[in-house]
Assembly symmetry: C2
């Protein structure tokens, strides 16, 4: 039997994607599930819905709550937390770099490092020097990687990824997609998504 | 030592409040926590944020996802689920009636019954006959209760409840408030809110 997989869709500027990125690999490993990393951009998707900013930016009460909730959740999970300034940060270059790492296999480590830099240490991942430091710390040739990430073919690849996210009905991050069609939204649904792909969910009670 | 309590803020038209209402009493009992029922209305709070509809109504993708997620969550919890038509329904009369039941103590049972009628059986709780049936099923004098609920004093009481919700920074439902100040939003945070009031949460790592 083939090992089941779960797609992990994330935007590097998404706060709850930070929590999911730090949890998903160990939880998936325990469940015997492979994780398919899918870095994308939420901005173009918000735009098609007529949103010019994330919901928590548009509604101050929701935004204020989100930071407190993140702080509490990070403490519960034992993760460092530091509210980044500025926020939100540009996640385009980080997403492009993450795509370059898919074939050589360093995307998971890069993803964790970028999220920790931003939400654990308050660094600005919109600055290419911050991303170059992370790549160098992973023993990669940061200059070459960034040049490849900024190439036209890779830029197009990220646009295709956004289109694929839209085709899957993704409207927020993190999102998890099982079997190309079953969508789960938010860090709080990671366990449910894993249960779904391993057959632990009560699907029999649901309409197809 | 006094038994700790948790405030449960809910709007009868809120989908995830249905799930919370069916879970909160048994979970709180296990944790040794008392539940303070706080029926309120989300509409006036959305209005002060410039929203004319709930977020899931404004964004079709989010709305479509919400119904699928609810269906899955209800199956996981073993709760009946039936998408109500029309939706959203008017929750004003149900909220007024729930307030009347606070002193005599039947609000928890009434709350569960109203949510089950709407989201478990697809009935329209905006119709007073549906609510009258529920009250009668609880051996209450439905005519007298509804008359009291529609009295000026009780209408004012509901407006005060909405003001109190706003003062607590509530922007969605269900919401849980611990110790008059710590806010938790969403059915997914019920366990965290209970951990908070029983002192199981890692508060020491959080700024006050």
């Amino acid at each position: 039997m083939m090992r089941p997989t779960l797609e992990f869709w994330y935007d590097f500027s998404s706060t709850y994607s930070y929590l999911a990125a730090q949890r998903i690999e160990s939880l998936a490993e325990e469940a015997g599930v492979g994780v398919v990393f899918r870095p994308f951009l939420l901005g173009p998707i918000f735009a098609t819905q007529g949103l010019t900013a994330a919901p928590f930016e548009q509604f101050p009460l929701k935004g204020q709550y989100m930071w407190r909730d993140l702080e509490r959740e990070a403490a519960t999970l034992g993760l460092p937390f530091c509210r980044p300034v500025p926020f939100p940060q540009s996640s385009v270059l980080a997403a492009r770099i993450a795509l370059v790492g898919l074939e050589p296999g360093w995307t998971p480590a890069f993803t964790r490092a970028v999220f920790t830099a931003q939400f654990g240490r308050g660094r600005n991942i919109g600055e290419s020097s911050v991303l170059a430091d992370i790549l160098a710390g992973m023993d990669l040739d940061s200059e070459a990687v960034i040049a490849g990430a900024q190439g036209d073919a890779n830029k197009l690849r990220l646009r295709r990824m956004v289109e694929e996210a839209q085709a899957r009905g993704i409207f927020g991050a993190p999102a998890f997609v099982a079997e190309d069609r079953e969508l789960f939204w938010g860090n709080d649904r990671l366990e449910r998504a894993l249960d779904w792909v391993t057959g632990q969910a009560r699907r029999s009670e649901l309409p197809v």
